[in-house]
Amino acid sequence: MTARYLIPLLAGSTLLSSMPAFADTDDIVKRGAYLARAGDCVACHSSPQGKPFAGGLGIESPFGTIYSTNITPDKENGIGSYTEEQFAAALREGKRADGANLYPAMPYPSYANLTDEDVHALYAYFMQGVEPVASQPPKTSLGFPFNQRWGISAWNWLFADAEPFTPQASHDELTERGRYLVEGLGHCGSCHTPRGIAQQEKALGGDSEAYLAGANLNGWWAPSLRAGDGDGQGIESWDTQAIVDYLETGRNVHATVGGEMTSVIAHSTSYLSERDLMGIAQYLKSLPANPTSDDAASTEAREQSTDETAAHLTAAKNLSKGERLYIDNCAACHFNAGEGADRVFPQLDGNSLTNAENPAGLIHTMLAGARPPATSKIPAQLPMPGFSWRLSDEEIASLATFVRGAWSNDAGPVTAEQVAEVRDSLGDTPLSRAPDPNGSLNHEDGGQ
């Protein structure tokens, strides 16, 4: 922990804003647009081919599919008739204008921390800066008892915490700004905080060890974001600039984004100011890392393991099937030492997806490929090819088992059955189409 986290918070009411106070309506709308980016509202409230904020995205939950609503200012189908007070209640308390409860797929327990000023700006944006769309998304119809919205009141009473944001004196101003964004609009905990028996996030703020401690998301591991000093694995080894780079561009010296986070970076964090991102980074670094398990390897032992794997692959003698497949399919970009290439190809040694307890995300990436987001700062998209056309379930299993145990990695083996299960769940995966023997290139339109 460095000294800057200990600088006392300066007093003042504008501290939570990284921007000057706005008087002009245009500026308020712009600021609302920025905050809507920070909240990534568009991600859930738009369907893949639909208009922005017109809703209709089906969100899978353990209780059934919840369809997002139209939040454009259309009076019939959207939120055009909401007063600012009703809008605030929806954001912070999950209350619809008619008083019914919203499903907690809407992260109102996080948004509860929003300041009045920010709610006002968001309201101004949604009323004046968003195009009204007159379309009604599909109705959510969950089975009994989850279709009983009144039941959510009890859930809210137990788990939602509508307390406004209160600054912590132990953080400096920028770190506090980061905490406000992470715990609030960013709703990072929705994916990265483990959930309890009633699907509630186990913690909504950094005062609990469970907060952002890592969680399983439909088979993908959303890693711990507790980046403070620990045993140096995962994002603990990232400095604040590496966190900023990752959120701004989807890649840094260690990793490249994959899975659901790709969309978060494309639509939300890449639009945030570097100052806000630095605040987020500082806040994540202020959270002490998850406790290290007793049998975890020391840093020296990990480095030695990395060197041994690299030397073995370089010598290329007595290779296992997984090792041979790695050299033939992966080493060109990720290299024998599993270190990838600076900001371009991710490091596999110590990679959170590679080491996740549930290997589904890793298997998915190997089969279907991956493509980083094009952000304004780094528009480059160097896709990872998918190997489903090229490698069998057994081969993917051998390869995944190898990378999960190679270098300093320490994750369990993968079976062909696990690969088959992921393969069955894949839809069309353009990056893993087999070459066309008739000689035309394998173009997929719209891919950049």
């Binding site: 094009a374 952000t375 304004s376 090229r390 990056l431």
Partner: protein, 589 residues
């Protein structure tokens, strides 16, 4: 009545290197820009590992190249022959689709020398009258080293150029090319790793007193993020470069270096399978009103635009000008007209050496690995006493180790047991010494419209008239003798030569080079150039024609760096002056 699209500020014909660069520059200036590409769309995903590494599909069947049935040229060697259309690509391989030749090039990214840009001035000073052929039509480019230097530097940063600096702001640097023009910045990245042939060539060349340096490369030696935020992965030396998209995203191309950044811009759009057949001119013939193209359904479409950038391949740029009536077609007899004048090419040659006991491991290489030396560039040696002008890049490059194109001794059967035995014996034991030579421009080496042959849309094909001239054959012989001296040092077990020598004629069937240049050359005199020094048509001021077509003659190396630098140079003038006050940027007087 052709279908009509909404007007744009600028239309770009062709989306390869020059089209992509112009796209960035003109959208920077706030223009609403549309690019029309006659081939298919292509993105990095098309080249994803390992699909592009297929020699039969790409190396032999030319998947990334133009198809003669769509875009043949007719070829003859002199004014008396009847030109016939290409039925199969051979001597040169123009690219097709988004990225153009920039997607399938090798990736040798080298600057010309300051002398190359002012070759006519150099010739007037260094050669007595009467020494050079009297039908030679060499000219200065009309732009100087100092004017282009910032644009070379910028483009080299776009590409992540890898190499060793030889002249930094006038100071000679150890290990680089002492003959290079002064660079304002060092190479962005260090040179590629050496291969076996590189080390042997370096040693032999130094022993003979030459100054070898690493081939300047756009296959990047390290991960690179360029000024547009585009990225390249470090080269892994797979050897699939020339004729291929790069599986490792390590070769600079419009795809790796520009296109994602360009496509993000809301004032840029592009259409593929849009084959531009002509530029439409206003009634007075002095301005273009847009272009006509055939869309993917075969329909004719008019695209109105305030500016037209011809950014297709050099040969096609010339054809579009001729088919549109931009400028006057060149006539070699009366020596009038400028469009089609001064077509030039590149001359190559080499010594194939076989060593029984040396393993070259050609499967671990990159297109631009190797060493070259510039001791035989114009001005660096006395070519006047040998009766020729020009020079050659002398090099040993092991561009690829793909099996089908493995060099084998001449008497090897092309199939059967004999072929298999030879492949087994010689694969990995071959090293080449090469010269890549300049080609001057001449009265009868030229381009015009073929009077007989037409494309499927009824537009005349481009006719190429080209043959080797005495000057180049003398150059070739001189360079052969120098390479023989290197071979003598290296002492191969077996060697064979391949050079153009006295009595040889241009053969269109076997590969020579895709460095086709000239035909719509730049200059300061409208009587001998189709474009002014800003690549603007002298005759139709809102038409700009960046490309190899602008070279008044060819220099002794690879053209991409110069083509790109000229494009940035032209774009700068457009942004700074032309847009404020559209009209001719140089007066004809």
């Amino acid at each position: 009545m052709a279908k009509q699209q909404p007007r744009v500020d600028a239309v770009i014909v062709g989306l390869g290197w020059t089209g992509s660069i112009m796209g960035m520059e003109l959208t920077d200036a706030g223009l609403n820009v549309l690019a029309l590409e006659r081939g298919a769309d292509r993105s990095n995903a098309d080249f994803a590992y390992p699909k592009a590494a297929d020699e039969l599909q790409y190396g032999i069947r030319h998947t990334m190249m133009q198809k003669p049935k769509q875009s043949a040229v007719t070829i003859r060697r002199n004014l008396d022959e009847r030109a016939l259309p290409q039925r199969k690509l051979g001597a040169f391989l123009p690219g097709d689709g988004v990225g153009g030749a920039g997607a399938h090039w090798t990736g040798v990214l080298i600057r010309p020398t300051p002398t190359d840009l002012q070759l006519k001035s150099f010739a007037d000073q260094a050669f007595e009258p009467g020494v050079l052929q009297d039908d030679m039509q060499i000219q200065d480019f009309g732009v100087t080293w100092d004017e282009l230097e910032p644009h070379f530097t910028f483009f080299e940063n776009v590409c992540g150029q890898s190499g060793t600096t030889g002249n930094l702001r006038g100071e000679t640097q150890e290990g680089g090319d002492p003959f290079e023009g002064p660079r304002s910045e060092p190479y962005p990245l260090p040179a590629l790793q050496d291969t076996q042939n590189t080390e042997m060539f370096d040693k032999a060349a130094r022993q003979l007193g030459y100054h070898p340096f690493p081939n300047p490369s756009a296959n990047v030696s390290r991960a690179w993020t360029n000024p547009y935020g585009m990225q390249l992965g470090p080269c892994n030396y797979c050897g699939f470069c020339s004729r291929y998209g790069c599986v490792n995203y390590s070769k600079a191309s419009p795809q790796t270096c520009i296109l994602n950044a360009l496509k993000q811009r809301s004032n840029f759009a592009y259409r593929t399978h849009a084959n531009v057949t002509r530029v439409e001119l206003a009634a007075d013939g002095k301005t273009a009103t847009g272009v006509t193209y055939i869309d993917e359904n075969g329909e004719e479409v008019f695209q109105p635009a305030d500016m037209v950038i011809l950014a297709s391949y050099a040969l096609n740029n010339v054809r579009l000008m001729l088919n549109s009536g931009i400028g006057q077609m060149y006539d070699p007899v009366s020596r009038t007209g400028t469009v089609g004048r001064n077509y030039a090419y590149q001359i190559g040659g080499g010594i194939h050496m076989y060593f029984d006991d040396i393993e070259f491991n050609p499967f671990a290489t990159a297109g631009a690995t190797g060493r070259m030396f510039n001791d035989f560039s114009p001005g660096n040696f006395d070519s006047a006493s040998h009766g020729f002008i020009g020079g050659a890049k002398m090099h040993s490059s092991q561009a690829s180790g793909t099996p089908i194109k493995t060099p084998l001794p001449k008497d090897t059967p092309s199939w059967g047991q004999g072929y298999k035995d030879a492949l087994q014996k010689y694969y990995g034991h071959h090293m080449k010494l090469s010269m890549t030579g300049s080609v001057m421009s001449y009265r009868t080496n030229m381009l015009d419209l073929d009077p007989t042959w037409k494309d499927p849309y009824g537009m005349p094909l481009l006719r190429m008239t080209f043959d080797w001239k005495e000057n180049e054959l003398k150059l070739s012989r001189f360079m052969r003798d120098r390479l023989r001296e290197i071979a003598d040092v290296l002492k191969p077990d077996h060697m064979e030569e391949s050079f153009q020598l006295n009595g040889d004629h241009f053969k269109v069937t076997s590969y020579v080079s895709t460095h086709n240049v000239g035909g719509a050359v730049m200059g300061t005199d409208p009587s001998n150039s189709a474009l002014n020094r800003y690549l603007q048509s002298w005759d139709v001021h809102n038409v700009f024609v960046p490309g190899g077509n602008a070279f008044p003659q060819n220099f002794q190396a690879n053209p991409t760096d110069l083509i790109a630098a000229l494009t940035y140079w032209s774009a700068k003038k457009i942004k700074e002056d032309y847009l404020k006050n559209p009209g001719p940027l140089m007066s004809r007087a």
